[in-house]
Amino acid sequence: MGTLWVFYPSLPVSADFSASGEALPPAWDRREELTRLLQHPAIWRAGRAARIPVWPSGFPALDEGLPGGGWPQAGLIEILPSRLGVGELSLLMPALAIVTRRPGARWCAWVAPPLQPFAPALEAGGIALERLLVMRIPRSAARRSFLWAFEQALGSSACDIAFAWARQPRPRQIRRLHLAAQRGNTLGVLFRSRGEAREASQALLRVAVEPLEGGVRVRLLKSRGGARGAIDLKWTARADSVEPT
């Protein structure tokens, strides 16, 4: 088993193996038992992604790289496109289609989108439009109204996914949003500019997006237990994955 690091809180493992005083089971038997034991959700093995509930991203190559095999279902992630509109939204479209079309879907909130989401294209992408909720922050409203609305969307358990486009959120605010997202069992997606990649962030996952010819290059800047490096995605793969099966 080599370098296996196991962290298990309050599990009487040693008692299982030796305290009974009986002869130890054969080696293969023990290994099986150990494997079974390691299935326990409280155990997290270093070097392996934590088992977290995820939404499939719709891109098999991306799913492989993401911790848990998809976008997390609860928590805040950051997407850092090099420019607004290089393909960061298309990247999330398949997941959005899967989430909004499942039975009992909750809201998908768009907090203060920079432009108007174009409904026909979203519908053509397989998204159930009646699950979308677009929030405009009035110009007169204070800046904290934006953060308030995003936190409400994340923490109220009424949304499956909440998108927000922020300008220079502070690390403290991000931490608060992340906690709200975990409380509400919501995936929060914060779009930030690429230049803010250096700033510390509590987000579960930080993904930089750059344009490619007919696709995007995704760089995982931070992922708990996931892969690092660049993953190239092509848009043509997207259309198939959206088809409901």
């Binding site: 393909g87 939204l89 879907a105 809201w107 174009f118 009646e130 405009r136 409203a141």
Partner: protein
């Protein structure tokens, strides 16, 4: 002598006072009736089952528009003190069934005094008439004759001299009747029924029947729409939001009890905060569904107060509700939304209300597609559907299944309005050169509604690798515009 006196009492403002023989039989005042009534039970009053008080308010106060005028509604609300059966007869009439209230208010005289007081309170001078049928009371009041007819047998005789035009029939019809010499109600009543119906319409015959009580004349009851309004003077001037909410708490509790007693909720609630030396600050809360729960109202009001900037400390606060709306109660969900497949419907109305309380009701909306090829007209903002959905929305619905890679040709972002692009050598530029990456898609439609477009759309790549949706006008001057970003 007594009859003469009472006639003077009742006909002070009638310009065309009835002539002598009619006056002898006409008005019967309470003074002349009540002693008889006390003496012998078989007085004429007992013959009529109902007694209607007709009130006509001056034409200036009755507006010609639809629905009862505010003055009339106000008067009707006051009149509810006298009897529960109040009916509106727009534009200028009001009817009260007062048979049961006569004794309580001291007979006809007392009742008339009460009604006159009510009219004076509204700043009106009404004409009153009492008759056993509603239409007769109304007609007499409209004719300006303060008749008091307690005996149905005398009704026709009393109505006979009234001009026919007080029934408000069409003028053409009245002209035709005048041509055959019929100008008063009495003359009309003397015409043969079958012939009358044939020549002047069955509706008019029915009017006459209702006038005399031959057929029933049910009237729609006027229901007062109550609103909650309560003000509280504060012993200290307050500025703090938390303290203000605490001060509003008893008012909200009162409101909750008020609404619970009526099984109603409110759709709008106004909170006024009064200051010393400043006009009051107002904050109006609009709700998606009827609500009566004080805790939730306090929470929403707190969001409103957060955004309100007060010019001075608050010395008094006031709550004014909108009209109560019947509330539909439903049992709450066992699971939290999102938990064990719990439906989203349970939590989402509160969520949306909270957002709207702070951001404004237009700020939160959902999206829907419209059948139009023009991008700006192909979508609209809709009210968020708060009802929980049981099934997957579009599984097995062929129209709603995704159309393959088609959406690759339309952008996910649309600009609020097309933005003009600069040109160099006939090619568009947007912060650098643009490279056209697709065949043109022609959209030429909308000639029928004045917003005609004739455009060739292209997908263009900018220097940052973004895909943009641009178009060129098909008509001169063939300008280029940016309309969408693929995102």
């Amino acid at each position: 002598m007594k009859a003469q006196k009472s006639a003077d009492l009742f006909a002070p403002d009638a310009p065309d006072a009835p002539d002598a023989p009619e006056r002898a039989v006409a008005p019967v005042s309470l003074r002349s009736v009540t002693p008889h009534r006390a003496a012998k039970p078989a007085v004429p009053q007992a013959l009529s089952v109902e007694l209607w008080l007709g009130v006509r308010i001056p034409a200036g106060e009755a507006q010609a528009g639809q629905g009862p005028s505010p003055a009339l509604t106000r008067l009707a609300t006051l009149a509810r003190r006298l009897t529960p059966r109040v009916a509106l007869a727009p534009p200028d009439g009001l009817l009260l069934e007062v048979k049961g209230s006569l004794h309580l208010f001291g007979g006809v005289d007392g009742l008339r005094r009460e009604m006159d007081t009510a009219c004076a309170h509204c700043g009106l001078r009404g004409t009153l008439a009492l008759a056993p049928t509603p239409l007769a009371a109304l007609t007499a009041a409209r004719a300006g004759r303060p008749l008091v007819v307690l005996d149905p047998a005398r009704l026709v005789g009393q109505l006979a001299p009234l001009p026919l035009k007080t029934l408000r029939w069409p003028p053409k019809l009245l002209d035709r009747l005048a041509c055959i010499g019929v100008r008063t109600i009495g003359q009309a009543l003397r015409l043969p029924r079958a012939g009358f119906a044939q020549r002047f319409g069955a509706a008019q015959l029915k009017d006459l029947d209702r006038l005399t009580g031959r057929v029933a004349d049910p009237r729609e009851r006027f229901e007062v729409r109550l609103r909650f309004r309560r003000r509280r003077e504060l012993s200290f001037e307050l500025e703090n939001r938390t303290a203000l909410l605490a001060a509003l708490d008893p008012l909200l509790g009162d409101l909750e009890r008020f609404l619970e007693a009526r099984q109603c909720g409110v759709l709008s609630l106004e909170c006024r905060l009064w200051h010393r030396g400043h006009p009051p600050s107002r904050s109006v809360l609009r709700l998606a569904a009827p609500l009566s729960d004080a805790t939730r109202l306090a929470e929403l009001l707190g969001e409103r107060l957060d955004t309100l900037s007060l010019p001075a400390p608050v010395c008094a606060c006031e709550l004014r509700s909108g009209f109560p709306v019947p509330r539909v109660l439903s049992s709450g969900g066992l699971w939290q939304p999102g938990e064990h497949g719990g439906s989203p419907g349970a939590g989402s109305p509160q969520f949306i209300e909270r957002l709207r309380a702070r951001l404004g009701s237009e700020a939160v909306h959902s999206l829907a597609c419209l059948h139009d090829h023009r991008p700006e007209a192909a979508w609209r903002a809709t009210e968020p559907a708060t009802a929980p959905r049981v099934e997957s929305p579009s599984r097995g619905d062929p129209e709603r299944t995704p159309r393959g890679a088609q959406h690759l040709f339309h952008p996910l972002w649309l600009l609020p309005s097309p933005r003009r692009l600069t040109e160099r050598g006939g090619l568009p530029r947007y912060r650098g050169g643009l490279r056209l990456a697709s065949e043109p898609e022609r959209i030429e439609t909308g000639w029928w509604d004045g917003a005609e477009v004739a455009r060739d759309y292209y997908i263009a790549l900018d220097t940052h690798g973004r895909r943009l949706w641009i178009f060129r006008e098909r008509n001169p001057p063939h300008r280029w515009f940016l309309h969408g970003v693929f995102g």
